[in-house]
C-alpha cells in the first residue's frame, strides 16, 4: 500500500502534525524517518495514506508544521520523492 512520508522538524512537531491531521479526519502515524531521506541524521515524519497525502500536506503547510521533503513509500519499502 502506498504511503506518503511527510518530513517534520522533530518528534514533537511530528506528534503535533499527527494530532492536527487526526482532528481533520486523516489517519496519521508518527514514525522514525528512514535514514536515507533524513538530511541531518535521525528524524521523525508523519505517515499518511496515498489518498490523503495532498490534503494532509496542505493542512500541515497551513500550520507551518512541515519541514523539508515528502516521500512516497511503496509497499516494498521503496522510497521516491514526491511533489504535492
Amino acid at each position: 500500500m502506498l504511503h506518503y512520508l511527510i518530513m517534520t522538524r522533530s518528534l514533537t512537531y511530528a506528534q503535533r502534525a499527527a494530532r492536527l491531521l487526526e482532528r481533520a479526519g486523516i489517519t496519521a502515524a508518527v514514525i522514525k524517518a528512514p535514514q536515507s531521506v533524513s538530511v541531518n541524521g535521525c528524524a521523525y515524519c508523519v505517515s499518511v495514506s496515498y489518498k490523503h497525502g495532498p490534503r494532509a500536506v496542505k493542512l500541515l503547510d497551513e500550520a507551518d508544521l512541515r519541514s523539508g521533503r515528502i516521500f512516497l513509500q511503496e509497499a516494498d519499502g521503496t522510497l521516491r520523492e514526491a511533489k504535492l
Binding site: T12, Q15, R16, K32, G41
Partner: protein, 372 residues
Amino acid sequence: MIYLDSAATSLLKPAAVPRAVSRAIRTLASPGRGGHAPAMEAAKAVYDCRCAAAELFDVPEPERVVFTMNATHGLNIAIRSLVRPGDRVVISGYEHNSVTRALKAVGADIRIARSPLFNGPATVAAFRERLAGASAAVCTHVSNVFGFVLPIYEIAALCRAYGVPLIVDASQSAGCADVDFRALDPAFIAMPGHKGLLGPQGTGLLLCGQAGVPLLCGGTGSDSKRQEMPDFLPDRLEAGTHNVAGIAGLSEGIRYVLDRTPQRIGAHERDLTALAAGELEDVPGLEIFNGPEQAGVLSVRHTALDCETLCARLGERGVAVRGGLHCAPTAHETVGTLDTGTVRLSFSPFSTRAETVKACRILRRAAGGDFS
C-alpha cells in the same frame, strides 16, 4: 502526620500520579530515540504532558514547553540565555537563591527592586524605577517564604514597555494561581513539577518565549549529524534521556489541576492561610506575616524561640513545617527576618481545615513550651 510543607514539595499526590510513575517504569522506553512501540508510547506520554501543560498555562505551541529537572534548572537555562557578565538585571526583593546565585555565577549586575511585604503597588513602582537600561528582569510570582503574591502581570507589562525580557519564577504559583503565558508574554517561565503541579520530584517545566541557550548539550534524537544543538524547541533545551516516569506522573498531576482549576485550588489554600493566621493571632510572642495578597504560604516567628526549635517541637508532635531561611535570604533581608528566619506553614489541595486548626493548636502549645 499533618503535612504543611507543600511549598518545599507536594508530599501528598493524586493517586493517579504514583500509578502513572509505576506504569511508566515498567512499560515506557526512551522517547525520540527508537521507533519501536515502547519508545513511541513513551513519546506519546511525554507529548501528552507537554500538551496538558500548554493547556494549563495557555502556551500557544506545545514545543514551547520544555522539561527540566526542577525550577532551578529552568531558571538557570533562562538566566544563561539572557544574561552576560556585567549585564544589569532587575529582580524583586523576594527572589530565591535559584535566581540570585545563578545571576551571581553569570556575573550579573543585580539591582534589587525591594518593596514592603504585601504591597503590590510599591513593588511595581520599585521595578519601574530600575528597569530603564536593564538587560533582563527576574520576578517570582509568589514569595516562597511569605506567600506574597507579586503583581506579576503589571510587572510583565512594565517590562514590555521598557523592552526588557522577563523571567518569571512560578515555583509557588504554578497549579494554584493564574499563570497565563500568553498574557504575561515573558522570555521564560520556570516552575517545578513537584509542588503545585503535584508531580514527582525531579520534574520541572520551562515555558519558552524564545529558543534559549542550552545548559546541557548532547543527544536529542534529532539532527544527529550536526554537532551543534538543534535550533528548534523543545530539542534545543532537552539534551539526554527524559525523566519519562517523572513526566508520566507529572502529566497526571497537571490533569488533576486542570480538573480542579488553579483558581479553586488557590482559593482553598488562601482560605487555609487565613484560617491559620486567625488561629495564631493571639499566641503570645508570635509574629505572623500575613496580608491581603497572600497565597497558601504563611510565615511566623517567635520572639524567644529559635525557628528551628519551634519546627522541631512541631515535628515531634506530627506537624511537618519548615524553618530557617528557605533558600531565600533576599526575601528575609527585605522583610527584616534574615537574622532569625521564620517557621513556614504551606498548604496544598489536600490540606484540610481540621488539620490546619489542629496544627495551629499544637503550634500554640509548642510556642508556650507546653506539651503536658
